[in-house]
Symmetry: D2
Subunit: 159 residues, 4 copies
């Protein structure tokens, strides 16, 4: 059975709602899932918290990274977690794990691309294998047109 | 009087509609505008066409670059025009000109970010000064949330 | 036997030298390789040339995309080939093929990142699976520190 | 007299060495400089620290952002500072300030591009005006070929 983890930070809780849907989808697809939510305060104040979380990710076949988009990139909390993975970067410990990403923000568009840029840069440095969303025409999915990962609009916008 | 040029490629004509609005806005702001539409076939088949167009841009204070977003970046036609600017890159001839960008595509979101990435890379290599759109909250503008340039949705999407 | 193709544009011929090394490596790894060099003039003047090349790529398991870096992104020729793949984007015909990239330029650094950005955007839109280079510490490889793909320095630079 | 600030995070101290050179250059050019080093622990543990720092930046004409490149993007500390600027994003308080960036990392190349991507995304969201480095041919500068900002190699690399 494929072992997947969802490693994500959620601020107000909206990203965690998206994470719940993602987790449900992974389970429905027959894989085992680890819910590895990143608590910002823990990660930042105590390097050991990052290490403990990372140890649980070491044995996974695939990791789903999630974050709100803050001002054109990933949240400071997820970035701080990424930075704490430097020892695993040096040994390329996560080589060949599959990686996907998701993000959420309040506008439909482009600022979310910056979050995917940062996640995919990390993924490439770790020598993981990046899988995007595809166009999803047949399934009437991905109507906003993001391809690097799953992009969630936080709330409908009247314009 | 500030001298501006709009240098853009338009495939089906939708980008040229956006260009017309942009040109109208520049004129309303009291600047002089040069409509420097790039004809793809000319540019690509004959390097002298690019040179002639570029000569007209040399004397401008600011250049607006426009393109449809094709498959996650600028059109091949605009990129071919950029490539033909290599001699001006070498002399940094356009240093300190102001640059802005616009693009159009059929989906609301993220694929257009890649077009801005390519335009801004060119602009930085030319040592021009990049100006984005800003958030536009006060004016109820930029509701899709692009900041590097003006992003136009080609047609409403039923979903 | 895994079937791979190298689809690349080379201007002065330096990129084709890199391509030759890449092809040699693929063969040494036991895979079958198709040398699908893109001739810029053919691609651009005649859409059918792109179609014929693409048909040969349809049956491949993996595609290696290569280009010189021109002014911060892929060459206009490779971008024009990408644009011509729009029908295959619409049907997601290349879904789940593996993709890697390589590029070459005369400076050690950052401008090559823009070429990988454009290639990976295309790859994600096609729903292919992107594989980077990894850090390569053990093998004393990738000393310039590119992770999205193989980055080749065209000539040593005295500074 | 033009008022400039250098707002940067430095981990081991190497980035602060680069910052010292940058500050020296600004002073030599006849501008007034504010050395606004970001202390990671302060920023992250106490939002008021970010607010106090930002208040000092409010009255500046130009801001220089600096960071080490950590695993393909800005440091978590600088990103956390950016995130804390959300109120100023909402009011576009820094509109029309000039912005430049610098970064340092141990490899010559591409991973530093990701740091500039994140800084420039922030700058565009704040509606600031982005100025890069230019090619610097005449001055035998920028030999590594970064254009979005100043890229510093931490230590020579034997290869």
């Amino acid at each position: 059975m494929t072992k997947v983890a969802a490693a994500y930070f959620s601020g107000s809780g909206t990203t965690s709602t998206t994470a719940a849907s993602v987790i449900e989808g992974v389970v429905a697809a027959g894989a085992e899932i680890l819910d590895a939510r990143i608590i910002g305060e823990d990660i930042i104040e105590d390097q050991r918290q990052s290490d403990q979380l990372a140890t649980r990710l070491d044995e996974r076949d695939a990791i789903i990274f999630g974050t709100p988009t803050f001002i054109g990139s990933v949240s400071g909390q997820l970035k701080t977690f990424f930075d704490a993975m430097a020892p695993r970067w040096f040994t390329q410990k996560w080589r060949n794990k599959v990686a996907v990403g998701f993000t959420a923000s309040s506008l439909a568009a482009g600022d979310k691309a910056g979050a995917f840029t940062a996640i995919s840069a990390f993924v490439m440095q770790m020598d993981m294998i990046w899988v995007g969303t595809g166009a999803g025409f047949q399934e009437n999915m991905n109507t906003n047109g993001f391809y690097l990962g799953l992009a969630q609009l936080l709330q409908p916008r009247s314009s």
